[in-house]
Symmetry: C2
Subunit: 603 residues, 2 copies
């Protein structure tokens, strides 16, 4: 570097609208830091991580060896450089920083982008060849080139090392997880870096394949949780684990099977190589978390309902039987309490409640119902056993939200209309349809405030023919061969009562009123499809204006993806799991009281 | 604690001869630190590690809960206390600190005691029981009681946790490795803490069982390295690994078999429970290290002789197939270069060369010969392929130093006398016998300076009948049916020449002369038994006064035990592996020249 003491350069960060004056010959990374801009440079500016890419024009130094290792000649021609290597030799304009690393994985209505900073880093290296003058061990050679003094490696990586190095003339890609070398691959494979996010529900498992170098999504696939063969809900599965020899093992194997099937689907679809999947992130309710790890869940079901662990766990995918790269890990998000699991933490990640100045309410209705209430000041969570009714279980003509399910229902004057998924003849009723039907029958006066379906004699002539005698009173004919029974209404009353009462208790503990709730966010396998008008009409949700209620999709799945793409989000998850205060409802007399009241309808 | 502002207490550390004045109510640990005394308190004074035991008299506070957890009532009555808990309420006399933790595991003639501070800690805990008011997870409960915020645990430990906790009323012993929980055991098992140190030689494997809480040795057992079935020396084993399908795997399995047999022997003898063995420390030459870990050793044998790794490695015993506690680890010491292994690092540990102000020479002769030369200023190492001759291989009547081996030999005037191991009729000659015979025959003029065994006509009448014609000239009859052949003499010349030349090269690189060498320490399977007079007589060692030459036993084995008992010794091992400078002899013309000269005898 020429000595030009006293000469200054101006570096203009265009997108950020910032001019920074720095001494001649200083790097653009220096300029960014001087200008208070945050630029991802994991390696600390050594030129090894390749993360601080910038697009530049103007007087900059020639590309260094490190830049040539991280940027193709097209990229260099295109003005791409590493900020830690490129030095300002005059005025420089930085058009963009770190462009591809900032991704928006949004839940509807939440506007925080996340910076892609996965736990896995791939670095391309060209090692000096061994000689009698340079007898460093293979591993030392790699370590020195990586400049990571405390590098450690799995035995398998070490075992493969001599062959991989010599297979491609000592030009290799190191796969790093922090200071752990989890793989070495021949040639430059830096862009082939993938991971999977799984949301393991009691009923459904959803997997998403992502490129964790870019943050782009390659595919989604789902399957039924095969544990359902041994019980539809968590309690029956806990009993199965307890009562059958190898019951726990069998439940674990069922879920692993599903994951592997989903992985196979995603690989086939995307043409991604299995060996390039380095990490799996998993969320689920606490029972699913226990079963997935073959941890006895029995104490979740027994007073005082404690889990074995709520910590985040990192495990070898291989040890669990999950088929990805042999050194790949599985990261399971932490949970909050015995019945508020990693899925709720993931919902917390996706909804940023802990950063909200105003109180928000999140209702997550899947097979179980979890409720989050609070703001940046304080966050509360509780769990109610509300789910099965909404998911169609225990409802006579209930079904999941698939082909043939009545998903919407309306009464206009004397007419009835409904919507069936995929426009086929109706086979049953899914959760959102159920709520619609309830809301409309209440409005039409066919169901009274106590939840009783009126007799034909008590209602108007137009719907009289739809009332038939049933097992526990009268049933309502929704469509040919499909009834809403009196029993169904009772189930729904229990379910909506539990959720409403849970919300009341959280409000009370937090010391807040309905009009202070700035937003209600609905999520979960069911919550996502609900018509908010109907939910409000049946008294599932507090009485706040409709425009403040939002369906935000599968927030748990979004949270899982966020944790896959960013280790900072994992830190947030741990903070959330520790800071969210769990409110136990089972020993609360107040909850019993609220629950009794909330079972009725206000008509 | 009563407030007695300004009041002081005098704490007298009797053994250390130190009085320390501290404020009223401060702990004895505080006093020790104030007095500049080092006291092992791994937990930082929280009362959880139980390491800072002291024996006291005088005015001290009543025992705390923490002390009751770590000390029996007899111990408390006996005046034992935890220095971090006991507070001085007046003058206090501390009779002894940390008594049982200081152990001498010495090599002959080296006088440094080591402080027992193993990587494994066992802590007895009584956890609060779960309730609806205290719904912490099992793991959280344990973690909080241990007061280790970043505690992590293997999945298997978590899986066992609910049963172990509930099996003994939440009174358990935590087994910790740093901040990793590797086991939880019912009841108080703190004193049952064992480990194994292994020295894996090319020919012999030696294992030592130790109580790692106390540092006491429970037993030693050894076995033959079963890899010998596939080749006597490292080069033939490397070839076997290369040329046979699964050759590497088979070599690895052979060595694991031997370790497991030795473990079984030691367990049977000591009545120790396998589950209470938590760690294995392994040293060996680089080739043994590679084979033990199933790492391809081929590049050790090919120019430029690089190893795959020289780092210390920590592995799951389970993954390697070694039968100890299921969560137990294997720690392998680091090595220095392609042919200077962890065994030499262990020799360095045991001999404290890096702390010696004066230059010392260590010659380790096993199946290979390694040489260390230097002082606290600088340390050098090299390796010569000298071993097999000394170990009996390639010597016509050679054998290892077991029953029936001629281990010493003398000529007094016209008489010959020899000593046979176990006083049976002689079956062969072991290394020390071989050197004696050579030395005596040289002195008697039966072998000349070039190494030629003279013809019957050239020597005096008394030994004339002992000279017989052989394949390559004349052979000497040592005992009935046992000959020293001309070929044997040539082998020995090569071997001693290589070692002597290696020493010369190290001297030259270090810039030192014979009279600056304050000590020669002989170690290794062979080195240990050598008569130093004979070694000097045949020109194996530099010409320094006999009283400065010492046999120090199996220094590598001692180093392995030191690393087992103390993580500080492991740090020392890493420092040694990095600071000892390796001198490559294979491309040194100077070495070739020295070697040529050193093959002859000076008579």
């Amino acid at each position: 570097m020429e000595n030009k003491r006293g000469v200054k350069s101006k570096v203009t960060f265009k997108r950020e609208g910032k001019d920074v004056i720095i001494p001649y010959g200083k790097t653009l990374l220096y300029a960014a830091y001087e200008g208070g801009l945050s630029l991802d440079a994991t390696c600390g500016g050594k030129g090894t991580c390749g993360k601080c890419k910038v697009k530049v024009r103007g007087s900059v130094s020639d590309p260094t060896q490190e830049e040539k290792a991280h940027l193709s000649s097209e990229e260099l021609q295109d003005g791409l450089r590493l900020a830690c290597q490129a030095r300002a030799l005059g005025d420089v304009i930085v058009d963009s920083i770190n462009d591809r690393a900032s991704q928006k994985i949004l839940v509807h209505g939440v506007e925080e982008p996340i910076i892609v900073s996965p736990s896995i880093q791939k670095i391309y290296l060209e090692l000096p060849l061994p000689s009698l003058e340079d007898q460093r061990s293979d591993f030392q050679r790699l370590k020195d080139t990586l400049k990571i003094r405390n590098l450690v490696a799995d035995l398998e990586v070490i075992q493969d090392l001599p062959q991989v190095l010599r297979g491609n003339d000592f030009k290799v890609t190191a796969v790093l997880k922090g200071e752990e070398l989890i793989g070495v691959e021949e040639g430059d494979t830096t862009l082939k870096s993938y991971g999977l996010a799984f949301d393991i529900g009691t009923t459904t498992v959803v997997g998403t394949l992502m490129n964790i170098a870019h943050g782009s999504q390659l595919g989604v696939s789902s399957g039924l949780n095969g544990q359902a063969d041994f019980g539809a809900d968590v309690i029956s599965r806990i009993n199965f684990a307890k009562e059958h020899p190898y019951g726990l093992r069998r439940l674990k194997e069922k879920i692993i099977e599903v994951l592997n099937e989903i992985i196979n689907d995603l690989l086939e679809e995307s043409k991604v190589n299995r060996e390039n999947i380095y990490e799996v992130v998993v969320v689920g309710n606490t029972c699913m978390q226990h079963l997935f790890l073959e941890i006895d869940p029995i104490n979740l079901a027994l007073m005082p309902y404690v889990s074995v662990t709520k910590e985040p766990m990192t495990l070898k995918a291989k040890d669990l039987g999950i088929s990805i790269n042999k050194a790949g890990d599985v990261y399971m998000l932490p949970s909050i309490a015995g019945f508020v699991g990693a899925d709720t933490v993931a919902v917390g990640l996706a909804t940023y409640l802990e950063k909200s100045p105003e109180v928000k309410l999140v209702v997550d209705i899947g097979t179980n119902g979890e409720i989050l209430l609070g703001s940046s000041k304080k966050l509360l969570a509780c769990s109610t056993a509300a789910g099965p009714a909404f998911e169609g279980a225990q409802i006579k003509y209930g079904m999941r939200g698939t082909t043939g399910a009545i998903e919407a229902f309306q009464i206009h004057g004397d007419d009835i209309s409904y919507k069936v998924i995929d426009n086929v003849p109706p086979k049953g009723i899914c959760g959102s349809g159920l709520i619609d039907i309830m809301a409309e029958l209440l409005k039409a006066g066919i169901i009274d405030g106590t939840g009783r379906i009126l007799s034909p004699g008590e209602i108007g002539p137009n719907f009289r023919t739809r009332i038939v005698e049933g097992e526990n009173g009268y049933d309502f004919v929704v469509a040919p061969g499909i009834l809403l029974t009196q029993g169904d209404v009772r189930q729904l009353q229990l379910a909506k009562g539990a959720i409403y009462a849970g919300i009341q208790i959280l409000k009370e503990v937090l010391g807040t009123e309905d009009d202070e709730i700035s937003q209600i966010l609905l999520t979960g396998a069911f919550g996502n499809y609900i018509r908010k008008e109907s939910a409000k009409a049946i008294g599932l949700l507090p009485d706040i204006p409709l425009e403040r209620i939002k369906s935000i999709g599968n927030a748990a799945g979004v949270g899982a993806k966020m944790a896959l793409l960013s280790i900072k989000e994992r830190d947030r998850a741990v903070e959330l799991s520790e800071s969210i205060e769990y409110v136990e409802l089972s020993n609360s007399l107040k909850f019993q009281e609220e629950f009794m009241n909330a079972m009725y309808f206000s008509v």
